[in-house]
């Protein structure tokens, strides 16, 4: 009887240990993949993937078809700061109409640009409730 009980306790203890290990693993993954929302200044300082938000400056962007890169500048409406963005991929369909663009990527100190690998595009409120395309 005690032997059975012991065996059971061991099984449970093992289970709890496994769950704890997984919890630790998940927490690490969580911290590791967390992309914080930062100001442009912080984006330039942080050596990690961050996300920044802003509006498209001058409603302008250029696409270099030889490299497949999209260049544009985000402007923080509150502070007037700007941050050049280099994005590898498709120009979002509603890019020019966006009321806000979120770029996710890492700052490239060599070129002074944020190298974005993902853009989130917010549409005007008349499309509230609507889905917006994801470009990753």
């Amino acid at each position: 009887m005690t032997k059975m009980l012991n065996k059971k306790t061991t099984t449970y203890a093992l289970g709890v240990l496994l769950l704890a290990a997984f919890a630790g693993f998940s927490l690490y993954a969580f911290q590791d993949t967390l992309t914080p929302y930062v100001s442009y200044e912080q984006a330039k300082e942080k050596q990690q993937v961050v996300q920044v938000a802003g509006v498209l400056q001058d409603n302008a962007s250029t696409y270099d078809s030889s490299t497949g890169l999209l260049y544009f500048t985000l402007e923080d409406e509150a502070t007037g700061e700007t941050l050049p963005i280099r994005y590898e991929g498709l120009k979002p369909a509603n890019f020019e109409e966006a009321i806000s663009i979120v770029a996710i990527g890492r700052y490239d100190a060599d070129t002074g640009e944020l190298a974005a690998n993902k853009l989130l595009v917010k549409c005007p409120s008349k499309y509230q409730g609507a889905e917006v395309k994801e470009y990753s």
């Binding site: 993954a29 914080p36 696409y63 078809s65 369909a93 008349k126 609507a130 994801e134």
Partner: protein
Amino acid sequence: MLHHVSQLYLPGAVPLWGALVFAILAVWGYSLVLRGDESARVFARRAYTFFALAVTLASLVLVIELVRRDFRVEYVFQYSGLDLPIHYQFAAFWAGQKGSFLIWLLWGSLLGLGVMRTAGKAEAPVMGIYTLTVMALLFILVRENPFVMLGNTPLDGEGLNPLLQDDWMVIHPPIMFIGYALTAIPFSFAMAALWRRDFKDWAARAFPWTLGAFLVLGAAILMGGYWAYKTLGWGGYWGWDPVENASLIPWILSVVLLHGLHLERTKGRYRRANFIVATLMYLAVLYGTFLTRSGVLADFSVHSFVDLGISGWLIALMATFAAIPAVLFVTRWKQIPVVRNEDPLLSKGAFMVLSTIALGVSALVITAGTSAPLLTKYMENPGQVGPDFYNRVNLPIALLVALLLSLVPFLTWRGTPLAKVARKLVVPSLISLAVTAATVAMVVRDPFHAIFIFLAILALVTNLQKTFQRASAQGLGAAGGWLSHVGVGVILLGFLASSAYDQSTKVTLTQGEPTAVGDMEMTFTRFIPRQGREKERMEVKVVRANGEEFFTYPKLFLNERTRQVMANPDIRSSPFRDLYVSPIEFDPGVQPGAPKTVQLAAGETLEIGERTIRFAGFNLLSQARGGAMAALQRGEQISVGAMLEVVQDGQVGTAQPTYAFAQSGLVNSQPTALPGGGTAVVSGINANDGKVELQIFGLGGVEVEPARLSIDVTKKPLIQLVWFGLYVILAGGLLSMWRRLRQAREYDDVAERVAVAKQGR
């Protein structure tokens, strides 16, 4: 906000208010029944039926208003438009927040009619709780009324977001909302069982509804994946976006609940856990709704939901539907019968419990990841986690689930000796090892991937074996669960292959020039203009290494209403891989015969061919009273001529192409022949710097440039396994459903006969 009666479209608003009254009456009636007043039952049922009718009526009114294009109604104005084809008029119903709550409410109220008939003895508490859950949606709609009218009657609506103008939009959202509505039913059964302290048959009655939620949510997720992959051009079928996760979490919990209810029905185990899981499944739907509708994730989700001002309501809802079970758990916990767990580890029961824990943990980490912006809200820089998080944490869970699934076909309830399991595993393991070795020989280098493939194939083989055994011994209906397990093995292979082994190349093709892309040769052959409903397409010829030739047609077109450029991929499917061609950018180049476009200020000249064209200035042709600006403001059309002097071989000629415009934006510009050949058109004028923009046809002066098309070409191996696996999982669920419904009918027949016999006594 609440609206004054005069601001509402009454044919729709009155049924909504009526529905609220009937819902309150139904809850009141059922509470009388609960207190022992049996005569109130008929009243409560009628009240509920009228509630469902009223909701249906309100929904019909919205449909009619959308189809009539009655733009007085704000919701119709916002999501409908004159140019919208009829099926999108219907789809506009659920294009906005208010309408999507209404369709959810509609399904919820109609499903309640079925719940009423299947709840048996527990009808009063089940329907009481259930009516509260649908009433919660009704509260939101009475507050955020879809029948609010504008002060005026616009001539046209704002139209449906072009991204939503897709056939999937017509079918995917309403099915998702059936799934959401279904999750409230097992919850209501659970609460009723706790309330009545009757723990006997709720599991049997809640099972088909849970299976229904599982099937419908699964089908909706499948459609969403198709939509993302085939037309939206997201490149994949799943992006771990909050809105996607909001449907995945309840789906995973429905799988947990299905297994838990099965354990409870067959072994009397897992009772307490089932109550918790049923609660969590429903709360997960509410929480997902809160995350995606309250605006808390506005900066984090690609599905840009804007705050409607209902966050407070949604929080109150969650609190209410968490408080009810909490109170019931506390007061009933000790009375829930518990069967002691005496199963050895290698038994069906223990494995079922383990896999539900694994899936529960998966649901939990996905919830945590989706909630990251809330969890980190008070940190210095709140953030979100990317797809990488979900992939990483779910990988070990997938491996564990695959392992459990591989062994479970050989286990019995009482437990099976390890030696016996091992013996039965020999052949399936050899098969799986052989396939894994083949993949390693071909492409797979990562040892984790090899383990993943081995376990997934093992699960597939052992469960396939079991499916056949079960089906031949007890009929196809009994094999549903095992068939679903086969699907899990298949889908895991599809996940790995399509995510870790896809190859993507971005390339710019010049029209007519064959370009090497990987082992293929691609040529952008031509641009095909819009033909009727068929959008503008690009034709790309592909020649494979084996000489096979075909064309793909990625689309890149302009939505005229919003001036958005829309892109749709084209997919060439073959048995082992998809070729995914996604357009990035199209440069039309300069075609032969294209006009020379030039901007000239007064006095400036253009040398073209052997001629010199001088722009002498504008000539106001209209008799504009009070000046051109005043005339424009009166809505009159202004006509301007561009005086041109053309000099050729010393001879001077003149021409005056005209340009008429009005404040409405209307422009009328006629081509005018130039002396000595060619034509000129005024394509624009710039009042600020006095410049004219001219297009000169037929005189050359332009360099022909070929059109260019930039595309993203991706090879996605074995992606079909994802779809096929999900089909198999759902097919297994359908088989089980079919069997349960047959059993339930027999069960009801027996119950009815017993009841009749009792009454007769």
